[in-house]
Subunit: 281 residues, 2 copies
């Protein structure tokens, strides 16, 4: 596995790989790898000749008071895991090179970023789309792989790619969960044992919403209420939002026609956790 | 010369050219070619193996009440001129394909777009950077060529390319002028014979500013005043701005240290014309 730190070095490597006709698969990450990441790497290995993974805790997607400073980092561990997982190139740029003095250009996706996390984390998606646009220009992938756990992020990136005619295929990979259903997240490390136990309710609440949908409930409000009432059983959970929305536009759905995204965000201790299920016949 | 209309067709063509190791030079235009464009094409031919020119009157860079509808268009004439000038590929996408329903992603350069034209044409540079980002993703050029007549645009595109790590070399080409000094512009066609005569004062006023600079004047205000007083000799000219600013940050300069951009915009009849000179020892 090659570790590349410089932007120019990565760009030149990717350019030469493309010239050789190699298909580049790319997984952008913030590191602190868990099984969710490993699943993305596996998908990348399957789809590309060369798998590039970026490891960069992107400062501009964190708001004030968010966890940029405390976000878990362990480069040596990540390097080992990436190597084991068959990653070919680990790209680890510095914040100084990514955002030098004078930096002032941003990519904004206007509508699909308004609801859900976008409503609670102002500037977050602007930071995400900007760094993903930069990484695409540096890594020059044919295929880019994102987890469905961050569903709004996936929709936002897809929208950016389509709108800006980026010649990249965006692939979404289903959420990987712990045995008790908790969605894998680097932020799960923030949880105390007690909080960790409480966190299992997030998925159980979503499953309750899904059960209602399966039974024929099509009223978004009713599903939201049912999910919230499961979450309220646990005083350690502070609900940020529970929403039923259109999976493409990310707008609230009063009545589900066919498919819907059931998404939630909650705070447990120091962690802000998100999860979602796609409701689909 | 090939004429390509579809985005996918252009992308595939560029991808295959790059694979063959060809250097792609690109000139984005809004058409209605004049000698200024031809000079850009000449530069492109010199620098690349393949010269791609886009012809697209970009709706999103025009504000309300601006001249999108009346902007001069003559595809057959442009096609002939491009062919004569040795253009290899003329890319002419439709507005429908460039901005389909649901389009919502924009690229914004925040600071260098604030002054000069940015202050008078809200949203203009957002439209420019968005379309240039799209065109770069479609045409995949190694080199992109812009005229210095639109100096703030050139600085803005350079900033975007640098900030978003676009692997494109941006080349600026000096303004081409009529014999009497008027900067070539497709919008000069809006001028009546009388207005056309009045328009020569724009360049003469800039030259007066330059003369003061050559004589040692380093106070921005004094240079601006001198330029304005030349322009005021002609009642057909309505000044929009005359500014002395930093050529990189596009911020107003009170005192010129070394180099400065002397830029102006004025309305004459239906035309809004811009021009500039770089003051440099």
């Amino acid at each position: 596995m090659r570790v590349v730190e410089s932007i120019k070095g990565m760009q030149d490597l990717s350019e030469s790989l493309r010239r050789q006709g190699k298909v580049i698969a790319f997984v952008p990450t913030m590191g602190y790898f868990h099984k969710g990441h490993l699943k993305l790497f596996e998908e990348g290995r399957k789809r590309g000749d060369v798998l590039v993974v970026s490891l960069f805790v992107n400062p501009i997607q964190f708001g004030k008071g968010e966890d940029f400073e405390t976000y878990p980092r362990d480069f040596e561990r990540d390097k080992g895991l990436a190597e084991e997982a068959g990653v070919d190139v680990l790209f680890t740029p510095s914040a100084e090179e990514m955002y030098p003095e004078g930096f002032q250009t941003y990519v904004t996706v206007e509508r699909v970023t308004k609801n859900l996390c976008g409503a609670f984390r102002p500037g977050h998606f602007k930071g995400v789309t900007t760094v993903v646009a930069k990484l695409f220009n540096i890594v020059k992938p044919h295929i880019a792989i994102f987890g469905e756990k961050d569903y709004q992020q996936l929709v936002t990136v897809r929208r950016m790619v389509k709108d800006l005619n980026m010649d990249v295929e965006v692939v979404g990979v289903p959420t990987v969960r712990e045995d008790d259903g908790l969605a894998m997240s680097s932020r799960n490390t923030y949880l105390s044992p007690e909080e960790r136990k409480a966190a299992t309710l997030l998925y159980r609440a979503l499953k309750e919403g899904e059960r209602l949908y399966r039974e024929g409930e099509r009223n978004g409000r009713n599903i939201v209420k049912a999910v919230e009432s499961v979450l309220r059983r646990e005083s350690l959970i502070r609900i940020e939002y529970v929403k039923v929305c259109d999976p493409e536009t990310i707008e609230d759905l009063e009545t589900i026609e066919e498919r819907a995204l059931l998404a939630l965000a909650a705070r447990i201790g120091k962690a802000r956790l998100i999860d979602n299920l796609l409701l689909s016949p």
